[in-house]
Amino acid sequence: MTRFLLKRLGLALVTLFLLSVIVFSVSSVLPGNVGRAVLGPFAAQESVDALNAQLGANRSLFTQYTDWAGGLLHGDLGTSLTKQVPAWDLLRPALSHSFELALVAFLICVPLSILGGIVAGLRYGRPTDKAITIAGLSFAAMPEFVSGIFLILLFAIWLHWLPTSAQWEDGANRLTQVKYLILPGMTLTLVLFGYIARITRAGMIEALDSDYARTAYLKGLRPSVVIRKHVLRNALLPTIAVVAVQVGYLVGGLVVVEVLFNYQGIGSLIYEAARQKDLPLLTAGVLVIGIVYLVVTLIADILYAFLNPRIRLGGIE
């Protein structure tokens, strides 16, 4: 197990390094001339040169990368061009906002979709299964801004149950804040529901069809006991990995959802940075999102390894 964890951690670090290289090269190499890309075709050459000098874009790419990566290692993510403050000072509050939203979404979504998957798996091939599968598929297919608009129209505009945006007034208490987060949270949920439910369902069908389920059934156990003790655990194991990956997509969906609901999270920060061509801030934000994703999948892998005796205890040899 230790071997497995060390290997997994090592891989995550390598991936992180490659990620930084990729993000760096996209943001510095692709434009050719960073200053020009930022300031646009009509800016004076002097201001372009000045900006390039300020960004250090006139040095060799290698030096640029090592400087940038060195800064990263010391917690320096660069300086926002438009706001002229350290990127981290902008990212930190945005990240914690997004974390709140993601948490709400996660808490609505994961139990609901796993339950949906289990029910669909148990009713395999029957109308309940078909309904859950098709609903999941349809929700997953719809971009967040589309399902978000449906939810806003239904719950905010026609029913007046919930606010249209996620911008609460200052000093609102926790409960009010959660009320504002329900619609964006549900929007994110709708997209993820189909994916997680599908994997859970597939795991259920496979486990129900397995030889060991047959062994358990032929022991004379009640079907409910067979499902609880033998099927569920083996069926849910693969779901963990999927949930982790989907949390990654959840982060991606944040951009659209936060723009739609006018919420000050990392998604809208990245969006603003992109609109204002604030490349240093954008780069830093993208990198942070990549790191969040890597950490989440790493945690999921560890959890998976811990729950799976084959990995935890190793083989015979």
Binding site: S210, D211, Y212, R214, T215, A216, Y217, L218, K219, G220, L221, R222, K229, H230, R233, N234, L237, L307, N308, P309, R310, L313, G315, I316, E317
Partner: protein
């Protein structure tokens, strides 16, 4: 006489159908048989005849698309088909148990062995604590050493043999009236299989449980059962006491089946094996008349339109055949006798393996898959390779072909050293060495037609292209007895035997000098196996090709091999002419292997038991690697010094500290034990 004690199992007129694409297809056609309490009944038949379906019907665990269309099943006097959900659960909990092939998947991978086993006791209403105690006792009963530690392990930490013991312990927890064993030892090594079978036999006599034993292996049935039923295309065609049915079969199918099996020491130079022509009717096809009529040499018009009734052939012996008196005289397949040319061992060997060694590194450990193997294969001869799994058979073949490079030693072809890896070998050397794999489904590209497969092989191996190629492909197909029609088909449209013929044709496209046959018949039914073996022998007689023949079936190896090499933990333990290796005196390991094989011919045999599982090749035992399991080990010398491989007779090598005469004396003491 036992009117008031109900039979353990009584199946009558059982009809079962599978619904495929909206049509009901019969898989069991009016099957009737019964088992008395405490007796064992074997159900044999080739794949697809409905054996496992019958078992699933008896425990009432049917696949989604399966349905019982008629008949009754009663176990211990209870009507199984009439159970309510609750009744069915009690029936499973108290009366019936089932053990199936592949114990690895029968155990829950995420649950400790102890907990799974205890569950079988708690269902009987026993407290948790007592269930654990009983579970431990159950593991002892199935002869698992150190049950306490096994209880705490997960299934994947146990060997296949151990897993199957655990499953058996679980099945016997309820002291069932009926125990169903569905191919319980298929996939296990012969020595492990023999242990498991011995265990089942012992437990059965102790517990007085009735056993339904399902197997494709007549030897296993003969060893384990009192009575046997032969199933063909969902119909029970013959039934009777095991000895009677196997010695005096009365249905042409049984007769044919028995004749297909190479046994009683027949060898390729004694003549061809019998085969059963034709194919099993496809699943659920509508059959007028006798189910076997299409493949039966005795069939007449009546057989084709009228179903033969059950007729008595002797005491408790029945057969469904109009011609059961003629069945024993079933005409043999007409074929020109084969003239297998003698092997000339004076000339340079075709292949010389020089001190081959292969070390794999597996998660930090060195695994010695091969250690100092030297052997020669002469033109036109077959070298048989036997040994348990993990003995290095496959690694040896792969090294010869250059798929893996040896760590030490070399392979010589006609006196020339070959490059260790095939990528570096000359084109002529590639075409000289070809292979026929075990599983034709994996060996043939399922998207390519047969002709495309053959044409490509001809192009690459024989350099034939253009108009010539098609003529050659047709010749090649003809040589392996494939019809013209087959050429346009894809592998999925062919039966297992035909696919294996395509694979053989492909290997022979470039006129190879040696073909490695890696268990080429073990995925096939015996009737098909015989045909493939005949084909291989014919090709050898025609073209003087050599074979390296790997098989776990000693009867098959004996039939086809001129010489035999016995491997254990990557070491050559014995090498010599086929007859002498089989007739003895044997190396103690060979002796154990031979005695583990259940044979059809019966006879008093004493089995040489081997202690425990094969040791890991990562840490082979000191001294003679076999000493940890050797029943004849001498003591210190075997534990400390590895015996050399010595030529004990001309062309016969053995690696053992016990002198040959002593072995002969030891092995002669017991009744002649081996006739595979």
């Amino acid at each position: 006489m036992s009117e008031h004690i109900p039979l353990a199992l009584e199946v009558s007129d059982l009809e079962m159908v599978y619904r495929v694409r909206g049509v009901d297809r019969p898989v069991l056609r009016g099957v009737s048989f019964s088992i008395e309490r405490g007796r064992s009944y074997g159900l044999v038949g080739e794949s697809g005849c409905g054996k496992s379906t019958a078992a699933l019907a008896i425990v009432r665990y049917l696949p989604r698309n399966g349905r019982i269309a008629g008949g009754t099943v009663s176990v211990a006097g209870q009507d199984v088909l009439g159970f309510s959900a609750r009744g069915l659960r009690e029936y499973h909990a108290l009366t019936v148990s089932m053990v199936y092939q592949n114990p690895g998947s029968a155990l829950n991978p995420g649950m400790r062995v102890g907990a799974q086993l205890a569950e079988a006791f708690t269902i009987l209403g026993v407290s948790r604590g007592e269930a654990r105690d009983r579970a431990r006792a159950a593991l002892e009963r199935v002869q698992i050493a150190d049950p306490a530690s096994v209880m705490g392990r997960y299934p994947h930490q146990l060997s296949g043999g151990m897993q199957q013991r655990v499953v058996i312990a679980m099945a016997l927890a309820k002291d069932p009236t009926l125990l169903i064993l569905d191919e319980p030892t298929t996939g296990l090594d012969a020595t492990v299989e023999a242990d498991v079978l011995d265990l089942v036999a012992t437990l059965q006599s102790e517990l007085h449980t009735a056993v339904l034993f399902i197997s494709h292996n007549l030897g296993v049935i003969s060893k384990m059962c009192d009575r046997v039923g032969v199933l063909y295309a969902g119909r029970l065609v013959e039934e009777g006491p095991v000895d009677t049915v196997l010695q005096d079969p009365r249905h042409p199918y049984t007769v044919g089946l028995l004749r297909c099996i190479p046994r009683g020491g027949v060898r390729k130079d004694h003549g061809r094996l019998d085969t059963i022509p034709g194919f099993l009717p496809s699943l659920g096809s509508r059959l007028e008349g006798c189910v076997f009529a299409d493949r039966c040499a005795l069939a007449d018009d009546r057989c084709r339109c009228e179903e033969p009734p059950v007729t008595q052939a002797g005491a408790g012996h029945i057969a469904r055949c109009f011609h059961q008196d003629l069945a024993p005289t079933l005409p043999r397949e007409e074929a020109a006798e084969l003239a297998v040319p003698a092997v000339n061992r004076e000339q340079t060997p075709l292949i010389q393996l020089e001190d081959l060694g292969k070390v794999f590194v597996q998660s930090g450990h060195e695994v010695h898959a091969l250690a100092g193997v030297s052997a020669a294969i002469w033109p036109g001869e077959t070298l048989g390779l036997v040994g348990e799994s993990g003995s290095g058979k496959t690694t040896l073949a792969r090294t010869l072909l250059g798929i893996v490079a040896p760590t030490s030693g070399s392979v010589e072809l006609e006196g020339r050293k070959l490059a260790p890896r095939f990528q570096k070998r000359a084109h002529a050397d590639l075409r000289a060495l070809q292979i026929v794999f075990q599983n034709p489904d994996s060996a043939l590209n399922r998207r390519h037609s047969v002709s495309r497969i053959l044409l490509r092989a001809l192009k690459k191996l024989a350099g034939v292209t253009g108009a010539d190629a098609e003529k050659h492909a047709a010749q090649l197909a003809d040589r392996v007895r494939l019809s013209e029609r087959t050429l346009t088909q894809k592998p999925v449209q062919l039966s297992g035997g035909l696919k294996q013929r395509v694979a053989i044709a492909r290997a022979f496209a470039g006129d190879p000098k040696l073909v490695v046959c890696d268990e080429p018949t073990s995925a096939l039914d015996v009737s098909v196996q015989a045909a493939i073996l005949n084909l291989l022998v014919e090709l050898q007689a025609e073209r003087g090709v050599s074979y390296l023949f790997i098989s776990h079936d000693l009867g098959v190896v004996r039939y086809i091999s001129d010489r035999i090499a016995v491997l254990y933990l990557g070491r050559l333990m014995e090498l010599g002419p086929s007859e002498t290796v089989f007739d003895g005196p044997h190396h103690p390991y060979t002796e154990a292997l031979l005695s583990a094989v259940p044979t059809i011919d019966g006879g008093g045999r004493r089995r040489i038991k081997l202690g425990g599982d094969i040791p890991s090749a990562a840490s082979p035992p000191s001294g003679c690697v076999f000493h940890t399991r050797c029943p004849r080990a001498l003591g210190a010398v075997c534990e400390e010094t590895e015996p050399p491989l010595v030529e004990i007779a001309p062309g016969r090598l053995m690696r053992c500290h016990i002198p040959l005469d002593e072995l002969r004396r030891l092995q002669a003491k017991e009744p002649e034990s081996v006739s595979a």
